[in-house]
Amino acid sequence: MKHKRNFSIIAHIDHGKSTLADRLIQGGGLVDERKFQNQMLDTMDIERERGITIKSNTVTLPYTAADGVTYELNLIDTPGHVDFSYEVSRALASCEGVLLLVDAAQGVEAQTLANLYLAMEHELEIVPVVNKIDLMAADVDGCKLQIDTELGLDGDEAVCCSAKTGQGVPEILEAIVTRIPPPSGDVSERLKALIFDAHYDAYRGVIIAVRVFDGGLQKGDEIRFMQGGFVHKVEEVGRFLPLRTACERLEAGDVGYVISGIKTVSEVRVGDTITHENWQAAEAVPGFVDALPVVFSSVYPVSNDEFEDLVYALEKYKLNDAALVYEKDSSVALGLGFRCGFLGLLHLEIFQERLEREFDQSLVMTAPSVRYIIAMSNGKELHLDNPHYFPDPSTIDHVLEPFIKASIMFPERYMGSVTKLCMDRRGENTRYTYPVPGRIEFKVELPLAEVIYDFYDRLKTVTQGYGSFDYEFMEHRKADVVKVDILVNAEKVDALSLIVHRDRARQRAVNICERLKEELPRQQFKVAIQGAIGGKIIARTTIGALGKDVTAKCYGGDISRKRKLLEKQAKGKKRMKMVGNVEIPQRAFVAVLKTSDD
């Protein structure tokens, strides 16, 4: 056990986490240089494109240190977004130490600090690493000073490197061995293994990534999932090298995978503890939370005849995304679809992108909503996340909406703008502290409905990227909410209805009308766009009729060009939805979904 090291890399976005992970893998000699695909750990296209990690990946690196001993280094990659902070906490719970990455040119940033706190909460050894020292703009000394003064760590102990050129990577590997403690745990104890990730493999079923704390497990063992409450037989255990490689046994201190004939990821919950069925651990690894969906949106195929394809795609997608929940839904404007629940807005966006790219689906998604509790006058209670089912206001006694406790960290110069943002979003009971000089931490209670509505983007904007944001659920509180409908030429576009706080109804309705006006192609007739609460119009705008669209000449007999243009446009029209006699393109729905609130 003393020759094992379990660690993560934590960093601000763009500070070079994935690149460093790649270098460490190469440094360990695990992957052939020639076959090396940059950013090994970010395997999904979307991850590579956006430069963020969505699904964490893990890799075991054999490394022969200066003392001549070969160590087993387990790098546990973590997702990089607040939607997945629970996954991050489970990954960190599986480590003894972290590399805290700081960009030599940009210095310490808000997220660096937030990550540091997270690591400290798990009592991890922290090794500061100054990256990108090859940059012209690198200020290594300034960076070390910041690590001293702002993070309260020893700046002189920071390892300097360039993940891009590979400079300093051997020193990092040495530091992992010498500074991060080996795991503790008892091999002879009852089995206790923490699930920190799971993904689906078409041939093997669910691959569960675990960190073993006590005991050991091997093929043939009967294992119990302590939270899930079900029992399975182990088919295979192994390590990520980085490809799955079976091994005899996983023991206390090890990081690896378990395959046990489970067919869907949704059965396996991150944070659950595995133990032996006939020799059970007394208690599970603490910190398990059932990931609950908090943001809801309906998804429809752009073309109604693609519904069957969507059903198939969702089933496939679900195999690899345990957090997604969905059920059938339907809309007058959009036909048959599904109501889906997500962990947050990013989760929703990733879902949309993956379905479109990997499964080739053209989707329309409705405005995201939270789940309200509606107390009816007749004493019944209704849990509702779909505006479509919002009851007649006269039958409602009161409505409760979910509140979160947000923790926002930012440099003090943004105090004014962050305060304003929180007030605008109906923040309550704001408290603030100075965890380190020059930086403020806000604790504020916010309605979740205001947060899912581009709060994170706005925070990034008003703090010029320096603000970080994390949250946890509190409770449901009374809220004065109404249902706003959007009408196009007097026809209700049910897919655009939303539940919103009364004070903000007009503004939201105006925004949606304006955005629709921008996105709707001019039609051959006038189109009126209205926002309404019940029968009362609260917003209104009009799109003038199309001027002249017949331009291409049709002389000299070149008809082919015109026909091909029409064929192409007709194909694009499949992405339009009819409401009354108005064609609404998919991008209009998407744009309304993303409307910002300036």
Partner: protein, 374 residues
């Protein structure tokens, strides 16, 4: 394919001859044309070969159209050689023969010659009767040359004279366009083609627009200009039978162009010329040399050939039908019934029996209508 589909439509085909030469290129033009006038004889040799090639399968043409480029650039002597060479194609007696001419090179001699050869219609590329507008478009003639061309054509015995005009010029007001039409009517043409100035990619005009040096009228302004022109001509009793085409009487419509829009077969000869035989469309190599070389090897000088299936033909009927008085069979319309109802209610279409016909407002949005019912 069903045998009935294989029968050629009975209407006689049209013959188009592309004369791909110009003295200089106009700033807006993207038509296939060369300023290499030395290739004219090579082109004539090629034409003789292509006539011979096509005469094996085509005959009975009742319209002939010499377009370009600038057909008048050929001069009388080459024109005689060309027309004599068309004999194997079996052009029927009484066919309509149109010659496109440019105001700057339609000499008395050429017009008289054309008349003698059997041409009964000239189409004059006047484009404008405003010298400033002509300069902007890169035309080599002035307004008085346009007047003179009409005068000479009439002198030479042409009774059917068409004049091209271009509108939607930068800053053009409805009043200016109205005065242009008035001036044109005073010259006594029997047919007017009023083309909106369109930006074709790769032209000097496109570059100027991209760089912001030229600002063209917007959507609403173009709509106004179109309506001003159409209303004025209809008020004068003219027949607005296609988006851009007006005839003094319905009998004076351009018979050849109508074939393109009504799915009647036509044969195009010359570089880049397009042909349609009812089931296939093809177009010739655009390079004069390659076109001539391939013909010299007794090879069809086709660049691309397309087979049209029923669906392609339907889309074409939509594309073509909403831009002219011929209209579209109701059976060709797709999409929810509310589309048709709305188009009728909005006055874009009128329905007579199992066909719908575009109104003047319908012409304006012909492309949108085609898409709506695709």
């Amino acid at each position: 394919m069903l045998t009935q589909d294989l029968e050629r439509p009975k209407t006689p085909p049209g013959l188009y001859i592309h004369v791909p030469f110009c003295v200089s290129r106009c700033s807006y033009c993207a038509f296939s044309s060369s300023t290499r006038l030395d290739l004219r004889d090579l082109w004539l040799e090629g034409m003789a070969r292509e006539v011979e090639l096509r005469a094996r399968t085509w005959d009975g043409f009742d319209t002939v159209y010499l377009g370009g480029g600038t057909p008048s650039i050929l001069g009388v002597e080459r024109l005689v050689r060309l027309v004599r060479g068309l004999e194997p194609l079996g052009i029927v007696p009484g066919a309509s023969w149109t010659l496109e001419v440019n105001p700057d090179d339609c000499s008395r001699e050429l017009l008289w010659g054309a008349r003698v050869l059997g041409f009964d219609r000239v189409s004059i590329g006047g484009q404008s009767l405003d010298d400033r507008a002509l300069r902007f478009m890169g035309r080599r003639h002035d307004a008085s040359a346009v007047e003179q061309a009409l005068h000479r054509a009439r002198e030479a015995g042409f009774e059917d004279i068409s004049l091209d005009l271009i509108y939607a010029l930068p800053g053009q007001s409805p009043g200016h366009w109205r005065r242009q039409i008035e001036a044109a009517l005073r010259l006594g043409p029997t047919h007017l083609s009023c083309y909106e100035l369109t930006v074709e990619p790769g032209t000097p005009l496109a570059t100027a627009v991209d760089q912001g040096r030229v600002v063209l009228p917007d959507d609403d302004q173009r709509r106004d200009l179109f309506l001003v022109g159409a209303e004025q001509l209809e008020a004068a009793g003219w027949d607005h039978y296609e988006v851009s085409s007006f005839a003094r009487t319905a009998a004076l419509r351009a018979r050849h162009n109508m074939k393109y829009w009504a799915h009647v077969p036509y044969l195009g000869l010359g570089p880049a010329a397009h042909s349609f035989d009812g089931f296939f469309r093809w177009w010739n190599d655009g390079s004069i040399r390659q076109w001539a070389d391939r013909l010299a090897r007794d090879e069809a000088p086709i660049e691309v050939e397309e087979t049209l299936d029923a669906e392609a033909l339907r889309l074409e009927r939509l594309t073509l039908g909403f831009r002219q008085v011929g209209g579209v069979p109701v059976a060709d319309l797709r999409g929810p019934p509310v589309h048709l109802r709305a188009a009728l209610d909005d006055g874009l279409l009128v329905r007579r029996g199992e066909r719908v016909f575009p109104t003047r407002l319908g012409f304006l949005v012909a492309d949108g209508l085609a898409l709506r019912f695709a």
